[in-house]
Protein backbone atom coordinates (compact mmCIF):
# COMPACT_ATOMS: atom_id res chain seq x y z
CA UNK A 1 0.00 0.00 0.00
CA UNK A 2 1.68 3.20 -1.16
CA UNK A 3 0.56 6.55 0.02
CA UNK A 4 1.24 9.88 -1.58
CA UNK A 5 3.79 11.77 0.47
CA UNK A 6 2.29 14.85 2.04
CA UNK A 7 4.62 17.50 3.35
CA UNK A 8 3.39 18.45 6.80
CA UNK A 9 5.17 21.82 6.38
CA UNK A 10 2.29 23.03 4.24
CA UNK A 11 -0.23 21.81 6.79
CA UNK A 12 1.63 23.57 9.58
CA UNK A 13 1.79 26.71 7.50
CA UNK A 14 -1.98 26.65 7.02
CA UNK A 15 -2.52 26.40 10.78
CA UNK A 16 -0.42 29.42 11.73
CA UNK A 17 -1.73 32.97 12.06
CA UNK A 18 0.18 35.53 10.01
CA UNK A 19 2.71 37.72 11.85
CA UNK A 20 2.80 35.48 14.88
CA UNK A 21 5.86 34.60 16.96
CA UNK A 22 7.10 31.11 16.18
CA UNK A 23 9.69 28.81 17.76
CA UNK A 24 10.64 25.80 15.63
CA UNK A 25 12.22 22.99 17.67
CA UNK A 26 14.59 20.81 15.69
CA UNK A 27 14.43 23.28 12.81
CA UNK A 28 17.04 21.48 10.70
CA UNK A 29 18.29 23.64 7.85
CA UNK A 30 15.52 26.12 8.53
CA UNK A 31 13.42 25.53 5.43
CA UNK A 32 10.10 25.49 7.32
CA UNK A 33 11.01 28.67 9.19
CA UNK A 34 12.11 30.39 5.98
CA UNK A 35 8.84 29.68 4.25
CA UNK A 36 6.83 30.72 7.32
CA UNK A 37 8.74 34.00 7.37
CA UNK A 38 8.29 34.51 3.63
CA UNK A 39 4.63 33.54 3.41
CA UNK A 40 3.23 34.22 6.84
CA UNK A 41 5.55 37.05 7.89
CA UNK A 42 6.13 35.37 11.24
CA UNK A 43 8.84 36.37 13.67
CA UNK A 44 10.68 33.06 13.78
CA UNK A 45 13.38 31.44 15.87
CA UNK A 46 14.79 27.97 15.35
CA UNK A 47 16.41 25.56 17.77
CA UNK A 48 18.81 22.99 16.40
CA UNK A 49 21.34 20.63 17.93
CA UNK A 50 23.49 20.12 14.84
CA UNK A 51 26.19 22.74 14.33
CA UNK A 52 26.17 22.25 10.54
CA UNK A 53 22.44 22.85 10.42
CA UNK A 54 22.89 25.97 12.58
CA UNK A 55 25.40 27.25 10.03
CA UNK A 56 22.87 26.62 7.22
CA UNK A 57 20.19 28.49 9.15
CA UNK A 58 22.54 31.45 9.57
CA UNK A 59 23.16 31.48 5.83
CA UNK A 60 19.41 31.82 5.34
CA UNK A 61 19.42 34.80 7.67
CA UNK A 62 17.44 32.97 10.32
CA UNK A 63 17.59 33.49 14.03
CA UNK A 64 18.75 30.14 15.37
CA UNK A 65 19.80 28.81 18.74
CA UNK A 66 22.08 25.81 19.00
CA UNK A 67 20.80 23.62 21.82
CA UNK A 68 19.59 20.17 22.79
CA UNK A 69 15.82 20.46 23.27
CA UNK A 70 15.90 17.34 25.42
CA UNK A 71 17.57 19.55 28.04
CA UNK A 72 14.45 21.73 28.22
CA UNK A 73 13.51 25.17 27.03
CA UNK A 74 14.65 27.07 30.11
CA UNK A 75 16.35 29.62 27.85
CA UNK A 76 12.92 31.08 27.02
CA UNK A 77 10.53 32.79 29.34
CA UNK A 78 6.87 31.92 29.70
CA UNK A 79 4.57 32.87 26.82
CA UNK A 80 7.35 34.15 24.57
CA UNK A 81 5.81 32.63 21.43
CA UNK A 82 2.42 32.13 19.82
CA UNK A 83 3.39 28.77 18.35
CA UNK A 84 6.06 26.26 19.25
CA UNK A 85 6.55 23.72 16.47
CA UNK A 86 7.80 20.17 16.83
CA UNK A 87 7.83 18.76 13.31
CA UNK A 88 9.15 15.24 12.68
CA UNK A 89 11.00 15.54 15.96
CA UNK A 90 8.76 14.01 18.64
CA UNK A 91 10.12 10.61 17.68
CA UNK A 92 13.69 11.50 18.72
CA UNK A 93 12.88 13.11 22.06
CA UNK A 94 13.89 11.34 25.28
CA UNK A 95 11.33 13.13 27.44
CA UNK A 96 8.48 13.97 25.06
CA UNK A 97 5.93 14.42 27.81
CA UNK A 98 7.98 17.08 29.61
CA UNK A 99 8.85 18.73 26.31
CA UNK A 100 5.22 19.22 25.28
CA UNK A 101 4.50 20.84 28.63
CA UNK A 102 7.58 23.03 28.18
CA UNK A 103 6.37 23.99 24.70
CA UNK A 104 3.07 25.09 26.20
CA UNK A 105 4.91 27.07 28.84
CA UNK A 106 6.96 29.15 26.38
CA UNK A 107 4.19 29.28 23.77
CA UNK A 108 0.42 29.69 23.66
CA UNK A 109 0.12 26.76 21.27
CA UNK A 110 2.19 23.74 20.42
CA UNK A 111 2.17 22.28 16.91
CA UNK A 112 3.25 18.66 16.94
CA UNK A 113 3.47 16.19 14.08
CA UNK A 114 3.01 12.54 14.95
CA UNK A 115 3.88 9.75 12.56
CA UNK A 116 1.44 6.90 13.27
CA UNK A 117 3.20 3.60 13.90
CA UNK A 118 -0.20 1.91 13.94
CA UNK A 119 -0.89 2.85 10.32
CA UNK A 120 -2.06 -0.10 8.24
CA UNK A 121 0.87 -0.07 5.83
CA UNK A 122 3.31 -0.15 8.73
CA UNK A 123 1.50 -3.11 10.22
CA UNK A 124 1.43 -4.99 6.93
CA UNK A 125 5.09 -4.28 6.28
CA UNK A 126 6.08 -5.54 9.70
CA UNK A 127 3.76 -8.53 9.48
CA UNK A 128 4.99 -9.64 6.07
CA UNK A 129 8.69 -8.90 6.36
CA UNK A 130 9.18 -9.18 10.09
CA UNK A 131 11.08 -5.90 9.87
CA UNK A 132 10.45 -2.34 10.94
CA UNK A 133 9.00 0.00 8.32
CA UNK A 134 11.85 2.15 6.98
CA UNK A 135 9.73 5.30 7.08
CA UNK A 136 9.19 4.93 10.82
CA UNK A 137 12.92 4.97 11.37
CA UNK A 138 13.32 7.99 9.09
CA UNK A 139 14.84 5.66 6.45
CA UNK A 140 17.95 4.95 8.50
CA UNK A 141 19.01 1.52 9.76
CA UNK A 142 18.30 0.71 13.40
CA UNK A 143 21.88 1.39 14.46
CA UNK A 144 21.95 4.85 12.92
CA UNK A 145 18.48 6.26 13.30
CA UNK A 146 17.88 8.93 15.90
CA UNK A 147 14.27 7.74 16.22
CA UNK A 148 13.69 6.21 19.65
CA UNK A 149 9.89 6.61 19.98
CA UNK A 150 7.41 4.57 18.01
CA UNK A 151 4.08 6.28 18.61
CA UNK A 152 0.59 5.07 17.71
CA UNK A 153 -2.26 7.54 17.29
CA UNK A 154 -4.31 6.00 20.08
CA UNK A 155 -1.38 5.95 22.46
CA UNK A 156 -0.73 9.60 21.75
CA UNK A 157 -4.37 10.51 22.51
CA UNK A 158 -4.22 8.57 25.77
CA UNK A 159 -1.10 10.35 26.90
CA UNK A 160 -2.61 13.76 26.11
CA UNK A 161 -5.78 12.97 28.04
CA UNK A 162 -3.69 12.30 31.12
CA UNK A 163 -1.56 15.42 30.72
CA UNK A 164 -4.21 18.14 30.75
CA UNK A 165 -3.31 19.15 27.22
CA UNK A 166 -6.13 19.72 24.77
CA UNK A 167 -6.13 19.20 21.01
CA UNK A 168 -7.69 22.38 19.67
CA UNK A 169 -7.16 21.57 16.02
CA UNK A 170 -5.97 18.58 14.06
CA UNK A 171 -5.08 17.58 10.51
CA UNK A 172 -5.02 13.89 9.69
CA UNK A 173 -3.09 12.72 6.67
CA UNK A 174 -4.82 9.63 5.32
CA UNK A 175 -3.73 7.29 2.50
CA UNK A 176 -3.57 8.73 -1.01
CA UNK A 177 -2.70 12.13 0.34
CA UNK A 178 -5.98 13.46 1.61
CA UNK A 179 -6.01 15.64 4.69
CA UNK A 180 -8.98 15.77 7.01
CA UNK A 181 -9.76 18.02 9.95
CA UNK A 182 -11.98 15.46 11.58
CA UNK A 183 -10.64 12.38 13.18
CA UNK A 184 -11.30 9.53 10.73
CA UNK A 185 -12.89 6.29 11.85
CA UNK A 186 -10.26 3.81 12.95
CA UNK A 187 -7.69 6.61 13.03
CA UNK A 188 -5.12 4.32 14.59
CA UNK A 189 -5.30 2.19 11.48
CA UNK A 190 -5.84 4.67 8.68
CA UNK A 191 -3.91 7.79 9.64
CA UNK A 192 -0.40 8.05 8.19
CA UNK A 193 0.63 11.12 10.04
CA UNK A 194 -1.15 13.89 11.94
CA UNK A 195 -0.54 17.48 12.93
CA UNK A 196 -1.98 18.65 16.24
CA UNK A 197 -2.44 22.14 17.55
CA UNK A 198 -2.20 21.69 21.30
CA UNK A 199 -3.33 24.08 23.99
CA UNK A 200 -3.12 23.87 27.72
CA UNK A 201 -6.47 23.15 29.31
CA UNK A 202 -7.46 26.23 31.27
Amino acid sequence: MKHTHIDTSLIIESMIEPQSRVLDLGCGDGSLLSSLIARKRVEGTGVEISHDMVASCLAKGLCVFQADIDKGLSHWEDATFDYVILKSTLEVIHRPYELILEMLRVGRHALVTVSNFGYLANRIHTLLTGRMTPRIRAFSPWYETSVIRYVCMDEFFEALRRSGVRISEARYVTPFGSVSRKKPLFANLFVVEAVFLLTRTP
Binding site: V54, S56, L58, A59, G61, C63, F65, H75
Partner: protein, 380 residues
Protein backbone atom coordinates in the same frame (compact mmCIF):
# COMPACT_ATOMS: atom_id res chain seq x y z
CA UNK B 1 41.26 49.51 -1.13
CA UNK B 2 42.73 46.19 -0.17
CA UNK B 3 46.35 46.48 0.79
CA UNK B 4 48.65 45.31 -1.98
CA UNK B 5 51.76 45.36 0.13
CA UNK B 6 52.35 45.46 3.88
CA UNK B 7 49.97 47.36 6.16
CA UNK B 8 50.93 49.89 8.80
CA UNK B 9 49.31 50.91 12.05
CA UNK B 10 48.04 54.49 11.70
CA UNK B 11 47.94 57.09 14.44
CA UNK B 12 45.12 59.56 15.03
CA UNK B 13 45.81 62.46 17.37
CA UNK B 14 42.64 63.73 18.98
CA UNK B 15 42.86 67.53 19.24
CA UNK B 16 40.28 67.84 22.01
CA UNK B 17 40.55 66.64 25.60
CA UNK B 18 38.87 63.27 26.15
CA UNK B 19 36.63 62.79 29.14
CA UNK B 20 36.59 59.33 30.66
CA UNK B 21 33.76 57.64 32.48
CA UNK B 22 35.61 58.29 35.77
CA UNK B 23 35.25 62.03 35.11
CA UNK B 24 38.98 62.44 34.47
CA UNK B 25 40.16 64.17 31.32
CA UNK B 26 43.01 63.14 29.03
CA UNK B 27 44.87 65.66 26.89
CA UNK B 28 46.57 64.64 23.68
CA UNK B 29 44.80 61.30 23.24
CA UNK B 30 46.27 59.26 20.39
CA UNK B 31 44.52 56.30 18.79
CA UNK B 32 46.41 53.55 16.98
CA UNK B 33 44.33 51.86 14.31
CA UNK B 34 44.35 49.89 11.10
CA UNK B 35 41.70 49.95 8.38
CA UNK B 36 41.29 47.63 5.41
CA UNK B 37 38.95 47.80 2.46
CA UNK B 38 37.17 50.87 1.19
CA UNK B 39 34.55 52.99 2.93
CA UNK B 40 31.42 53.45 0.82
CA UNK B 41 30.52 57.03 -0.16
CA UNK B 42 27.64 56.94 2.31
CA UNK B 43 29.92 55.59 5.06
CA UNK B 44 27.69 52.65 5.88
CA UNK B 45 29.77 49.54 5.09
CA UNK B 46 32.12 49.60 8.06
CA UNK B 47 32.86 46.70 10.38
CA UNK B 48 34.51 47.40 13.72
CA UNK B 49 36.75 44.66 15.10
CA UNK B 50 37.39 44.70 18.84
CA UNK B 51 40.54 43.13 20.23
CA UNK B 52 40.99 41.13 23.42
CA UNK B 53 43.20 41.77 26.48
CA UNK B 54 46.55 41.28 24.80
CA UNK B 55 45.56 42.21 21.24
CA UNK B 56 46.25 45.34 19.26
CA UNK B 57 45.17 47.29 16.19
CA UNK B 58 47.02 44.92 13.86
CA UNK B 59 44.15 42.55 13.14
CA UNK B 60 45.02 41.39 9.64
CA UNK B 61 47.56 41.34 6.80
CA UNK B 62 51.32 41.71 7.30
CA UNK B 63 53.46 44.50 8.64
CA UNK B 64 56.61 45.35 6.69
CA UNK B 65 59.04 42.45 7.00
CA UNK B 66 56.84 40.55 9.45
CA UNK B 67 56.64 36.76 9.35
CA UNK B 68 53.30 36.61 11.18
CA UNK B 69 50.14 38.40 10.07
CA UNK B 70 47.67 40.25 12.34
CA UNK B 71 45.92 38.39 15.16
CA UNK B 72 42.68 37.63 13.29
CA UNK B 73 44.10 37.44 9.77
CA UNK B 74 42.28 34.21 8.77
CA UNK B 75 38.99 36.02 9.44
CA UNK B 76 39.69 39.32 7.68
CA UNK B 77 40.59 39.89 4.03
CA UNK B 78 39.29 39.66 0.49
CA UNK B 79 36.74 36.84 0.31
CA UNK B 80 37.13 36.01 3.99
CA UNK B 81 34.39 36.17 6.67
CA UNK B 82 34.97 39.89 7.20
CA UNK B 83 35.27 40.46 3.49
CA UNK B 84 37.42 43.50 2.77
CA UNK B 85 36.03 43.57 -0.77
CA UNK B 86 32.67 44.46 0.76
CA UNK B 87 33.43 46.01 4.10
CA UNK B 88 35.62 48.74 5.45
CA UNK B 89 37.18 46.91 8.39
CA UNK B 90 38.56 48.97 11.28
CA UNK B 91 40.45 47.82 14.36
CA UNK B 92 42.03 50.06 16.98
CA UNK B 93 44.12 49.57 20.09
CA UNK B 94 42.16 50.15 23.31
CA UNK B 95 42.70 53.12 25.60
CA UNK B 96 44.88 52.03 28.51
CA UNK B 97 46.77 49.71 26.18
CA UNK B 98 50.37 49.83 25.11
CA UNK B 99 50.33 49.37 21.34
CA UNK B 100 49.96 52.94 20.16
CA UNK B 101 46.82 54.20 21.85
CA UNK B 102 47.30 56.34 24.95
CA UNK B 103 47.86 54.28 28.09
CA UNK B 104 49.85 54.32 31.34
CA UNK B 105 53.17 54.00 29.45
CA UNK B 106 52.41 57.10 27.35
CA UNK B 107 53.95 60.47 28.18
CA UNK B 108 51.75 62.76 30.22
CA UNK B 109 51.90 66.07 28.29
CA UNK B 110 51.59 67.97 31.57
CA UNK B 111 54.71 66.45 33.11
CA UNK B 112 56.63 65.11 30.13
CA UNK B 113 56.93 61.78 31.95
CA UNK B 114 55.04 58.51 31.55
CA UNK B 115 51.72 58.43 33.39
CA UNK B 116 52.29 55.22 35.31
CA UNK B 117 49.63 54.97 37.99
CA UNK B 118 48.58 58.60 37.50
CA UNK B 119 46.78 57.37 34.40
CA UNK B 120 43.03 57.52 35.07
CA UNK B 121 41.11 54.26 35.43
CA UNK B 122 39.58 53.09 32.15
CA UNK B 123 36.39 51.16 31.47
CA UNK B 124 35.11 49.07 28.62
CA UNK B 125 32.81 52.00 27.80
CA UNK B 126 35.82 54.35 27.57
CA UNK B 127 37.36 51.97 25.02
CA UNK B 128 34.16 52.16 22.98
CA UNK B 129 33.95 55.96 23.21
CA UNK B 130 37.51 56.25 21.90
CA UNK B 131 36.53 54.04 18.95
CA UNK B 132 33.53 56.29 18.32
CA UNK B 133 35.91 59.25 17.96
CA UNK B 134 38.02 57.27 15.52
CA UNK B 135 35.04 56.15 13.44
CA UNK B 136 33.69 59.71 13.25
CA UNK B 137 37.12 60.86 12.06
CA UNK B 138 37.17 58.14 9.39
CA UNK B 139 33.72 59.20 8.15
CA UNK B 140 31.89 56.06 9.28
CA UNK B 141 28.17 56.83 9.58
CA UNK B 142 26.93 53.37 10.44
CA UNK B 143 28.44 50.03 11.31
CA UNK B 144 27.35 46.92 9.44
CA UNK B 145 28.74 44.91 12.29
CA UNK B 146 30.74 45.21 15.46
CA UNK B 147 32.59 42.04 16.39
CA UNK B 148 35.02 40.70 18.93
CA UNK B 149 35.99 37.84 21.19
CA UNK B 150 36.66 37.77 24.93
CA UNK B 151 37.25 41.39 26.05
CA UNK B 152 36.50 42.30 22.43
CA UNK B 153 33.06 40.79 22.98
CA UNK B 154 32.56 43.07 25.99
CA UNK B 155 33.31 46.16 23.89
CA UNK B 156 31.04 44.77 21.19
CA UNK B 157 28.12 44.45 23.60
CA UNK B 158 28.77 47.84 25.18
CA UNK B 159 28.80 49.62 21.84
CA UNK B 160 25.77 47.77 20.58
CA UNK B 161 23.77 48.44 23.74
CA UNK B 162 24.88 52.08 24.10
CA UNK B 163 24.28 52.98 20.45
CA UNK B 164 21.40 50.86 19.16
CA UNK B 165 21.04 53.09 16.09
CA UNK B 166 24.69 52.91 15.11
CA UNK B 167 25.36 49.22 14.42
CA UNK B 168 23.22 46.88 12.31
CA UNK B 169 24.54 43.73 13.92
CA UNK B 170 26.98 42.30 16.40
CA UNK B 171 29.11 39.17 16.69
CA UNK B 172 30.13 38.33 20.23
CA UNK B 173 32.51 35.40 20.72
CA UNK B 174 33.48 33.64 23.96
CA UNK B 175 32.61 36.50 26.24
CA UNK B 176 30.47 37.45 29.21
CA UNK B 177 28.22 40.27 30.38
CA UNK B 178 30.04 40.32 33.71
CA UNK B 179 32.94 38.50 35.31
CA UNK B 180 32.21 35.81 37.86
CA UNK B 181 34.11 35.62 41.14
CA UNK B 182 36.42 33.01 39.61
CA UNK B 183 37.21 35.18 36.61
CA UNK B 184 37.97 38.16 38.84
CA UNK B 185 40.10 35.92 41.04
CA UNK B 186 42.33 34.80 38.17
CA UNK B 187 42.84 38.40 37.07
CA UNK B 188 43.64 39.47 40.61
CA UNK B 189 46.35 36.83 40.95
CA UNK B 190 47.86 38.17 37.72
CA UNK B 191 47.80 41.72 39.03
CA UNK B 192 49.29 40.69 42.37
CA UNK B 193 52.12 38.90 40.58
CA UNK B 194 53.01 42.17 38.84
CA UNK B 195 52.69 44.30 41.94
CA UNK B 196 54.71 41.84 44.02
CA UNK B 197 57.65 42.23 41.63
CA UNK B 198 60.01 44.78 43.28
CA UNK B 199 60.79 46.19 39.83
CA UNK B 200 57.19 47.28 39.51
CA UNK B 201 57.96 50.01 42.04
CA UNK B 202 54.46 51.40 42.38
CA UNK B 203 54.08 51.51 38.62
CA UNK B 204 57.14 53.70 38.29
CA UNK B 205 59.57 51.65 36.27
CA UNK B 206 59.72 53.40 32.92
CA UNK B 207 63.30 54.02 31.84
CA UNK B 208 64.38 51.17 34.07
CA UNK B 209 63.99 47.37 33.90
CA UNK B 210 60.22 46.65 33.88
CA UNK B 211 58.66 44.05 36.23
CA UNK B 212 59.23 41.27 33.74
CA UNK B 213 59.06 38.49 36.32
CA UNK B 214 55.66 39.57 37.61
CA UNK B 215 54.19 40.25 34.19
CA UNK B 216 55.32 36.92 32.80
CA UNK B 217 53.78 35.08 35.77
CA UNK B 218 50.54 36.98 35.11
CA UNK B 219 50.66 35.87 31.50
CA UNK B 220 51.41 32.27 32.50
CA UNK B 221 48.34 32.18 34.74
CA UNK B 222 46.30 33.71 31.94
CA UNK B 223 47.54 31.13 29.47
CA UNK B 224 46.50 28.25 31.70
CA UNK B 225 42.96 29.63 31.70
CA UNK B 226 43.00 30.01 27.90
CA UNK B 227 43.66 26.30 27.28
CA UNK B 228 41.51 23.30 28.08
CA UNK B 229 42.79 20.63 30.42
CA UNK B 230 42.47 18.03 27.70
CA UNK B 231 44.41 20.05 25.17
CA UNK B 232 47.21 20.68 27.66
CA UNK B 233 47.38 16.97 28.43
CA UNK B 234 47.46 16.04 24.76
CA UNK B 235 49.97 18.68 23.81
CA UNK B 236 52.39 18.28 26.71
CA UNK B 237 51.39 15.39 28.94
CA UNK B 238 54.30 14.70 31.26
CA UNK B 239 56.88 15.03 28.51
CA UNK B 240 60.17 16.61 29.46
CA UNK B 241 62.59 18.72 27.56
CA UNK B 242 66.33 18.12 27.63
CA UNK B 243 68.20 15.30 29.36
CA UNK B 244 69.46 16.75 32.57
CA UNK B 245 66.63 17.05 35.07
CA UNK B 246 68.88 17.12 38.09
CA UNK B 247 68.89 20.89 38.47
CA UNK B 248 66.12 21.54 40.94
CA UNK B 249 63.31 23.97 40.18
CA UNK B 250 64.38 24.64 36.64
CA UNK B 251 61.69 24.10 34.01
CA UNK B 252 61.98 20.54 32.80
CA UNK B 253 58.44 19.58 31.81
CA UNK B 254 57.34 20.61 28.34
CA UNK B 255 54.40 22.48 29.79
CA UNK B 256 56.75 24.52 31.98
CA UNK B 257 58.84 25.48 28.98
CA UNK B 258 55.73 26.38 27.05
CA UNK B 259 54.42 28.68 29.79
CA UNK B 260 57.88 30.15 30.27
CA UNK B 261 58.04 30.95 26.57
CA UNK B 262 54.57 32.52 26.64
CA UNK B 263 55.55 34.65 29.62
CA UNK B 264 58.87 35.79 28.19
CA UNK B 265 57.52 36.64 24.76
CA UNK B 266 54.66 38.57 26.35
CA UNK B 267 56.88 40.89 28.40
CA UNK B 268 58.63 41.94 25.23
CA UNK B 269 55.46 43.39 23.81
CA UNK B 270 53.26 44.28 26.74
CA UNK B 271 53.36 46.88 29.48
CA UNK B 272 52.76 45.70 33.05
CA UNK B 273 50.71 48.77 34.01
CA UNK B 274 48.52 48.31 30.94
CA UNK B 275 47.89 44.77 32.13
CA UNK B 276 46.70 46.16 35.47
CA UNK B 277 44.45 48.82 33.90
CA UNK B 278 42.90 46.59 31.27
CA UNK B 279 42.25 43.59 33.52
CA UNK B 280 40.58 45.98 35.98
CA UNK B 281 38.39 47.35 33.18
CA UNK B 282 37.40 43.77 32.36
CA UNK B 283 36.62 42.91 36.00
CA UNK B 284 34.57 46.08 36.49
CA UNK B 285 32.56 45.53 33.31
CA UNK B 286 28.90 44.81 34.04
CA UNK B 287 26.81 45.36 30.95
CA UNK B 288 23.37 45.28 32.50
CA UNK B 289 24.16 47.71 35.29
CA UNK B 290 26.12 49.98 32.95
CA UNK B 291 23.24 50.48 30.55
CA UNK B 292 20.68 51.00 33.28
CA UNK B 293 22.67 53.75 35.02
CA UNK B 294 20.73 56.90 35.69
CA UNK B 295 22.20 60.14 34.42
CA UNK B 296 24.52 58.63 31.89
CA UNK B 297 26.14 61.28 29.83
CA UNK B 298 26.67 59.23 26.71
CA UNK B 299 24.77 56.86 24.51
CA UNK B 300 21.67 57.44 22.50
CA UNK B 301 18.06 56.33 22.34
CA UNK B 302 17.94 55.71 26.04
CA UNK B 303 14.36 56.94 26.14
CA UNK B 304 12.37 53.78 26.54
CA UNK B 305 10.75 52.59 23.38
CA UNK B 306 13.04 54.21 20.84
CA UNK B 307 15.98 51.99 21.74
CA UNK B 308 13.72 48.98 21.76
CA UNK B 309 12.33 49.82 18.33
CA UNK B 310 15.87 50.20 17.03
CA UNK B 311 16.83 46.82 18.48
CA UNK B 312 13.94 45.12 16.68
CA UNK B 313 15.65 45.53 13.32
CA UNK B 314 19.03 44.33 14.60
CA UNK B 315 20.71 40.97 14.48
CA UNK B 316 23.25 39.36 16.71
CA UNK B 317 25.40 36.25 16.67
CA UNK B 318 26.79 34.82 19.89
CA UNK B 319 29.40 32.08 19.64
CA UNK B 320 30.89 29.90 22.37
CA UNK B 321 33.41 27.07 22.46
CA UNK B 322 32.56 23.80 24.18
CA UNK B 323 35.86 23.48 26.05
CA UNK B 324 36.15 27.15 27.05
CA UNK B 325 36.05 27.10 30.84
CA UNK B 326 37.20 30.70 31.24
CA UNK B 327 34.18 32.07 29.35
CA UNK B 328 31.93 29.01 29.35
CA UNK B 329 29.01 28.53 26.91
CA UNK B 330 26.55 29.22 29.74
CA UNK B 331 27.75 32.84 29.86
CA UNK B 332 27.34 33.18 26.10
CA UNK B 333 23.81 31.80 26.31
CA UNK B 334 23.12 34.46 28.92
CA UNK B 335 24.29 37.10 26.44
CA UNK B 336 21.98 35.69 23.79
CA UNK B 337 19.07 35.69 26.22
CA UNK B 338 19.73 39.27 27.31
CA UNK B 339 19.84 40.71 23.80
CA UNK B 340 16.85 38.61 22.71
CA UNK B 341 15.02 40.21 25.62
CA UNK B 342 15.89 43.62 24.18
CA UNK B 343 14.22 42.54 20.95
CA UNK B 344 17.34 41.72 18.90
CA UNK B 345 17.17 38.64 16.66
CA UNK B 346 20.06 36.80 18.32
CA UNK B 347 21.47 33.50 17.13
CA UNK B 348 23.64 31.28 19.28
CA UNK B 349 26.13 28.73 18.02
CA UNK B 350 28.54 26.45 19.84
CA UNK B 351 31.78 25.28 18.27
CA UNK B 352 32.97 21.86 19.41
CA UNK B 353 36.69 22.14 20.08
CA UNK B 354 39.40 21.14 22.56
CA UNK B 355 41.20 24.45 22.24
CA UNK B 356 39.54 26.16 25.20
CA UNK B 357 39.18 29.93 25.28
CA UNK B 358 42.09 30.27 22.87
CA UNK B 359 39.84 28.78 20.18
CA UNK B 360 38.67 32.25 19.22
CA UNK B 361 42.17 32.83 17.84
CA UNK B 362 42.85 29.28 16.58
CA UNK B 363 39.56 27.83 15.35
CA UNK B 364 39.09 30.46 12.71
CA UNK B 365 37.69 28.10 10.09
CA UNK B 366 34.60 27.22 12.12
CA UNK B 367 34.15 30.86 13.12
CA UNK B 368 34.58 32.00 9.52
CA UNK B 369 31.74 29.81 8.39
CA UNK B 370 29.36 31.11 11.07
CA UNK B 371 30.36 34.75 10.73
CA UNK B 372 30.51 34.60 6.92
CA UNK B 373 27.03 33.08 6.69
CA UNK B 374 25.69 35.53 9.25
CA UNK B 375 27.08 38.63 7.54
CA UNK B 376 26.15 37.50 4.04
CA UNK B 377 22.50 37.17 5.09
CA UNK B 378 22.21 40.62 6.66
CA UNK B 379 19.50 42.65 4.95
CA UNK B 380 20.91 45.49 2.85
Amino acid sequence: MNPQGPVKTQILKVPRPFRLESGDTLEGLTIAYEAYGELSPSGDNAVLIEHALSGDAHAAFYHEGARKPGWWDPMIGPGKAFDTNRYFVVCSNVIGGCSGTTGPSSLNPATGRPYGLTFPPVTIRDMVEVQRLLLAHLGVKRLRCVAGGSMGGMQTMQLFADYPFFADSFVCIASTMRHSAQQIAFNEVGRRAIMADPRWNGGNYYGDVPPEGGLSVARMIGHITYLSERMMQEKFGRARKGKDHTVVFRPSFEVEHYLDYQGVSFVRRFDANSYLYITSAIDNFDLVSSISQVGRFRGEGRARGTARDAMKAKKGLVVAFTSDWLYPPSQSREIARFFSGLGVAVSYAEIATDHGHDAFLTDTEAQSRLVGNFLASLPA
